[in-house]
Each structure stands twice: as structure tokens, then as C-alpha cells.
Point group: C3
Chain length 348, copies 3
């Protein structure tokens, strides 16, 4: 293997002075404002053309040996940065660092054409009634069905499949191998490789004779600025819609059942499963592998720890643990009680 | 977004009289039998051309404000339906409702061609030795290998891949992006987008030097009327077959190991994992995210609650909870005991 | 269905004498060394042309009725094999059995071309700057991006997508529908159908205003002889790489977060989730549905039981259970303590 292969080269270069202007950070009086910065990296990996950052004292030990060209730091940590590194004071060094990274590496912000082209690839199959705006990229092997509408700036990945009447907004990235049917997608949405959106939910009339499929007539609505991780599945609603609210981020291999409503700016970590008709408020955070039973509501701002199982409604704002999910205080008391009891018990 | 986009239009329309005939429900003497019904919806969303249903008293409060044209109801609830809604008495209102929904919206019953075509798309790649019956639809980009047999009425989705010698019966829907190798599929089977069927199981000869792959020579057998959710993976058996019994329904992102045998009419909810050689009887229900260890048997009719971990055989018919999975009585006693103990304990 | 369909026919046939030579097993003096063996099977399914094996006394009851032509057995069990079965003594009968199976059924050792062809299929889309070695097979509908390098003996499955600059070594099998970007893949690697490698990790700058995506500039490195199960997702690192060490085996639907480092010869069973920056030593075994929280280290040789949740570092070599994961002794004491307590408690 060519160990030196680099997949992302900076789209541009910047200077200390431009970083100051972009981030509102504060240089020292003697800072070399015309020094060129071409990359971003953590302290321990940065070279003299890289920008790094420090916002927690526990990483201060990395400063001494760092070869970073510049480092964003909080006021409290600024004095620890060695003299050969240009220090830039910032209220939120990580935020400033991310702003610079996004400017230098725009190609890493969303899945790009794997063919590095624009327009519609010769081998893509686009139905004549589909409405493809100017400035759309359709990669090889993608299939776009009748009356689908795809707006400007959007990339449809190789071998992705877009069904009839689906609408996709501006500046979206639909990854390779994605399937989207019965869905309306907003602007600036990222759907990573292999996601499945809009297939019908898991709903049957069950009797001793078997399970009769109930037609699912709803849709999937993905609002603006949502990101959906690789391999995630989102079923369409039965009569009402399944909705992922603006700005929410879903990780890989998440399962969203029919008629789920996810609020705005939620974070759903990998392998979570939300059963049918679950409602999440805004800014809910679900750790990895969490399960939520059907028809439950989780209030805005609540956090559920990884691997928890939610079996009843959760009010806004607290932190929940375990299965069945309980508040932190009760959960940790249970753990402690059990640990003490176990110490006093011999195994069967 | 065009909020008004509708993905499913009724294939036909019906009347109160025809609904009575189809479902065996009982209208009142003055029912307008020629009233036209074009849709189905829950009470709170139904319009005057929609059929709704009520089978539980707790939803009775929705009746007053409902604008449904007609409503199926149990004998016990029939009298609560307001006069402007045509009421139809039914033993099982939900079942009758599903029958009508299926008649009005046949396109929602299984994944259809995303190109809305029939026959073999020009960009599909079908091996000359494959046997494709009349009445099969093969969507753009699908790949069908040597000697595969696909029977009439079946749809192969866009960019799906069907391997050598695979057989698929009548009236199946294979979703977009599905991969099927080393498998025999019955009739009326639905395989949703992105499923992976027939790859070899996870079996090695392990030693301190590493893990030597054991050839897996068995098959995947999917019996009639099975449904498999999006992104689900089913490995083929090592020497015997992996079998999914007639009428069983698997949800999204389920993992079925090699040589598993699932009985008839089982329900396996999303993200369950069944390790190698597990045997499920008929009518077993596994809630979401359940795990079952290898070589275990779960008796017919048993139900395992979501997120449980099954570590020993389960007899037929009971309800099981937790990890390790226990019967309801023991599980809830454990929870209660721990809760009381925790109340009496301070955290560490 | 044609119940008799066989997907794997032996590529060759062998004899008792050749098996003795290949495996170092020891025949009895009167063994028919020229007897032809064409298959492998477990004792209960073997026919007279099949090789079987026995290495555990608990399966001895299968010997009497077995119709196997030959059977590998440990010294302790050898005398139990009936006279009509040719017995071959081996130190590790299963290992010897696997060696023979691998010789007879090489096609079952990795995903093969579903079109049974070699070279580049007419419908594959290969960028003119991609470097495709002689002896590479590219199945129909596959898409290979600019400057990708694919070495000899490798198969790229139907409708797979390989991104720009990706490198894939010798004798790899990339399954149908796989997506690989920003990755370097060694030799003899198997990537099963529908895997997603190299998409960016789940990393944001979060504030009350929302979640700002952090560019992920690292790579995925897959070392030699790794196997990755169907539907598994592996995110690329943020600045450093995500690494899967030589000889490690991942099952289906596993999630590997950004900057994870998996050691050599690890085994990760289906539906495990490893959060960002987790480090596994060599020979770590994770049972199914295990979750590991971010930045944790699991020492070499440690085993974590299925469904466990790892919330703190684990030293090398032990066996861990539950959530939070504890050592066997403590875990089973807890279970026993709780069981006794529950017996003495009435449910709420």
C-alpha cells in the first residue's frame, strides 16, 4: 500500500491573518500574520504548516513536543503554548478550528462525485419526466424515476436509486448505493452510502392464520441540513409521515420506524432503533444502540445513554440510563446496590 | 418542498355497499350504500371520502371531531359514532379496514418498479442462460447471473444483483440494491431495499496463528409469503440450509446467522441478531434488538421482549424479558427488588 | 423450488491417500487409500463419498448411524468410529476437515463473480485513469473512480462503487453493492456485499444553534487477510486513520467509528458498535451486539460476551460480561445475588 496516499488536499491555503479574520481569534502583537497555513491537525500530528487547537488543560502535555505552525487556545491555556507556535486566543478554539478546516477542505464536508465529474453520467438512467435542475451531478449507474425533482447543487451518487415523485432540494449529497422512495428531502441534506429511505413500515394485521400486510401510504420528510449515516433505514409512515427535523444528525445503521417524528438538532448515534410513532423533541441525544419502544415521547433536550432501552415517556431535559431507562441518580444507585450485594454473595 | 405530494393514489374507488360485501360488515338500515369511498385514514385525519375504523374505547374521543365518511366499529363502540359518519359494524374493524386499504392501494403492498415499467430495462444486465418468465419486471441496472430462474409476476429492483442459479418464485418483489446469492426464494416474497442474502456465514477454525475460513456450502431458503426488511442480512448455511419459514416477517437491519431455522409466521423486529444454528418454532415473536446465542431453540409461540438476550433454550408459549432472558414473573420481581434496594442505598 | 439445487460443486476430487498427505492425519493399516472423496459434511448428513469429523465426545452418538465415507477423529474418539467408515486420526480433526473442504470448494472461500466471468464487464464504468492490473475481474455495473488502483486476482462485485485514489491489493473479493472511498485495502481481503467503507465519521461542533460538521480527513486502512461481513460500516478517521489489523474478522452489520484501531486477528461478531477512537489489542473477541464507548482500550486477548456494554478500559486477557462490562466472577455474582433477592420479593 502507498502509505502516503492523501485523499483530501486543501482546496486553498490561508494565512494567520486570514484565520484571525475568519474566526475572530486574537493573535499576539508579534504574530506573523502572513504565515501560510495549509492544513489542520491535532497537536501531536500537526506540522509547521498546520493549525491545531487546545481547549482542555488535560491536553497541555502535548504542547511541548508539538510542531504545529499555529494553535488556537483558550485564554486560560494560551500561556502554555510554546513560543515557536503562533498562538491565537479564542473563546471556543475547537469552533474556530472547525471553521478553518471547513474552509480548507470543502470536499470533505459531504460525499462528492466518485467520478469527479459534473452533470449526468452517460451510464445513469434518468426517466424523461424527471426534473433535473442545472448544476446537478448524477454519477454513473444512478437511476432516477418518473417525475422525481432534483434541485441545483445536489449530487446523486453512483448506483443510487431515486423513486417516482421523490423530491430532493438544493446542495444535497446522496451517497452511492442509496435508495430513496416516497420521500421529500430538503436542502443541504447528506444521505450517506447505502441508506434506505421510504420503504414501507413493519405493520401487519396478525391472527393465528398469519400476518396481513397493512398498506403504508405516508411519506418520509427529511428537513434541511439533516445528515443520515451509512446503512441507516427510515420507513415511511402509514398514513401520517415519518419526519426528521431540521439539523438533526443520524449516525450509521440507525433504524427509524414508520411515523416517527424526530425534532430539530437531535443527535442519534449508531445502531439506535426507534419503533413506530416515537416522537423526539428538539435537541434530544440518543447514545449508540439505544432502543425506544413504539408510541413513546422523549422530551426536548433529554439525553439517553448508549445501549439504554426506553420503555416509557421521558420528560424534557434529563439524562437517562439503562433498561428500562431511569434517571442518572436511580440508575447509579441501582448499580451500586447491586455491586455491594454481589460482594456479599457467593455465585450459585 | 411540495408538501402536497402524494405517493399513492387509489387504484380504484369503492362504495359503502362494496365495502359491506368485501368485509362482511353490517351497515345500518339507512346507510348510503352508493356513497363513494376513495381512501382510508385514521379517524383524526380522515375526510368525507375516507374510511376509518375504531376498535378500542380509548380512541372514542376522536369520533366527535372526525370528518370520516365511513367508520368500521365493533358492536360495543358502534353507538358512539356520530350520525354524519356511516357506521359499519364489524367483528374485527381493523381487519376489515386493512382489506379495504389493500383493495384501494395495491401499489403500496410491495416495492414496485421505480421506473414504472414492465419487462426488462435496457440497462439491466441479464445473463443469456438466465430463465426469465413472461411477466417479470427487471428494473434499470439490475444484474442477473447465469442460470438464475425468475418466475412470473416478480419485480427485480433497480441495481439489484441476483447470483448464479438463484431461484425466485412468482409475484415476488426484490427491492433496489438487494444482493441475492446461493438462495432459493418462494412465491409472494418481499425483499426490501439493500438486503443481503446468501453470503457465507461467519465460521472459522481459530488458533493463535489466526482464523482460517471454513467453506460454507449450504443455501438460504426463503419460503412463500415471507417479508424481509431493508438492510437485513441472511447468511447461508455451512452444510445444511438457513431457512425462513412461510409467512414470517423480518423487519429492517436484522442479522440471521448461518444455519438458522425460523419457523412459520414468526415476527422478528428490527435489529435482532440470531447467531448460527438458532431454531425458532412457529409464531415466535422477537422484539427489537433481541439477541439469541448460537444453537439455541425458542419454542413455538414464545415472545421475547425488545432488547432481551437469550442465552438458553426457551420453551413454547411464554413471554421472556431481559438479559439473560427470564420469564415475566421473575424479570419483574428482579426489577422491583433492585428498585427497592437502590432506594435504600446511597451511590458510591 | 428445485430443492435439489446445489450452489457449490467440488472443483476437484480427492482420495483418502491425498487427504492423509494434505492433513498429516493417520489412517489405519487397512485403510482404502484410493477411495474417492468428493465432499465434506457433518456426520449426520454425510454420504459415502463425504469426509466428516469428530472431535468432541458429545457427538459420538452420531457415529453409529452416520453414512460418511471417512471420518477424521481424535485419538480418544477413534475407536468409536464404526468399521465401515474409514477413520483418520488427527490432532485437530476440525482443522484437517477445513483443509480438505478448502481444497474441494475453493469457490466458496470468497464472493466470486456473479457473472462467472473474468476481465471487465461491458457495463462496468471504469475511469480512464484507474489502474487495473491484469487478472482483475470487474462485474457488471461496478463503478471505479479516478486513479483507483486494483491489483491482480481481485474481484470487484456487480454494482460496487470504488472511489478516487482507493487502493485494493491482490486476491481481494469486494462483494456486490459495496461502496469504498478514502480507503487503502491490503491483500486477500474479503468485503462482503453492501459494506460501506470510508465515509466520514460522526463528528460535529455542537452548540444550541446546531451541529457543525467537522471535516474528516483521515482514511480507512484494511490490512491483509481481513474479512468484513455484509452491511458493515467503517468510517474514516478525522486526522489519523481507522485501521483494521491483519487477519481480523468482522461479521455482518458491525459499526466501526472514526479513528478506531482494531488489532490483529480480532473477531467482532455481528451488530457490534465501536465508537470513535476505540483501540482493540490483538486477538480480542467481541460477541454479538457489543457496544464499546469512545476512546476506550481493550487489551489483547480479552473476550467480551455478547450484548455487553464496555464503559471503561479493559485489561488484556480476561472475559467480560454485561453492562457496564465486568469480569466473569463479579457478573455472575451479581446475577446470583439479584436472583435470590427477587425470590424473596413480591413484584410492585
Amino acid at each position: 500500500m502507498r502509505g502516503g496516499t492523501v485523499f483530501f488536499k486543501p482546496a486553498t491555503q490561508t494565512t494567520i491573518g486570514e484565520i484571525v479574520a475568519l474566526t475572530g481569534s486574537v493573535p499576539r502583537a508579534d504574530a506573523p500574520l502572513d504565515r501560510v497555513i495549509t492544513g489542520v491537525a491535532p497537536l501531536e500530528r500537526a506540522t509547521s504548516s498546520d493549525l491545531a487547537f487546545i481547549s482542555q488543560a488535560k491536553y497541555a502535555k502535548l504542547l511541548k513536543s508539538s510542531r504545529a505552525g499555529a494553535c488556537l487556545a483558550t485564554e486560560a491555556l494560551e500561556h502554555l503554548v510554546p513560543g515557536q507556535i503562533t498562538v491565537l486566543r479564542a473563546l471556543d478554539p475547537f469552533y474556530a478550528f472547525v471553521l478553518v478546516a471547513r474552509q480548507l477542505f470543502p470536499d470533505a464536508l459531504r460525499p462528492m462525485s466518485v467520478f469527479e465529474t459534473t452533470g449526468t453520467a452517460a451510464s445513469a438512467v434518468v426517466h424523461p419526466t424527471a426534473l433535473i435542475a442545472a448544476g446537478v451531478t448524477i454519477d454513473p449507474g444512478a437511476v432516477i424515476g418518473p417525475r422525481a425533482r432534483i434541485d441545483t447543487g445536489t449530487i446523486i451518487g453512483a448506483n443510487a436509486v431515486i423513486g417516482p415523485d421523490v423530491e430532493i432540494g438544493r446542495n444535497c449529497s446522496i451517497g452511492p448505493g442509496v435508495t430513496i422512495v416516497c420521500s421529500l428531502i430538503g436542502d443541504e441534506v447528506i444521505v450517506h452510502a447505502g441508506c434506505r429511505l421510504g420503504q414501507d413500515g413493519f405493520r401487519f394485521h396478525s391472527s393465528p392464520r398469519g400476518h396481513l400486510k397493512v398498506p403504508q401510504l405516508g411519506r418520509v420528510i427529511i428537513e434541511d441540513n439533516v445528515e443520515i449515516g451509512a446503512g441507516t433505514t427510515i420507513d415511511r409512515g402509514g398514513s401520517a409521515d415519518t419526519i426528521i427535523g431540521r439539523g438533526s444528525k443520524l449516525d450509521n445503521l440507525v433504524q427509524i420506524g414508520h411515523h416517527v417524528s424526530v425534532g430539530r438538532n437531535c443527535v442519534i448515534v449508531a445502531q439506535c432503533g426507534l419503533a413506530g410513532s416515537v416522537v423526539l423533541g428538539d435537541h434530544v441525544v440518543l447514545g449508540g444502540q439505544v432502543g425506544v419502544a413504539d408510541h413513546l415521547e422523549i422530551g426536548g433536550g433529554a439525553t439517553v445513554a448508549a445501549k439504554s432501552g426506553v420503555t416509557s415517556n421521558i420528560p424534557p431535559g434529563g439524562k437517562w440510563f439503562g433498561y428500562p431507562a431511569r434517571q442518572a441518580r436511580e440508575y447509579f444507585r441501582s448499580l451500586a446496590a447491586l455491586r455491594r450485594l454481589a460482594k456479599a454473595t457467593k455465585p450459585d
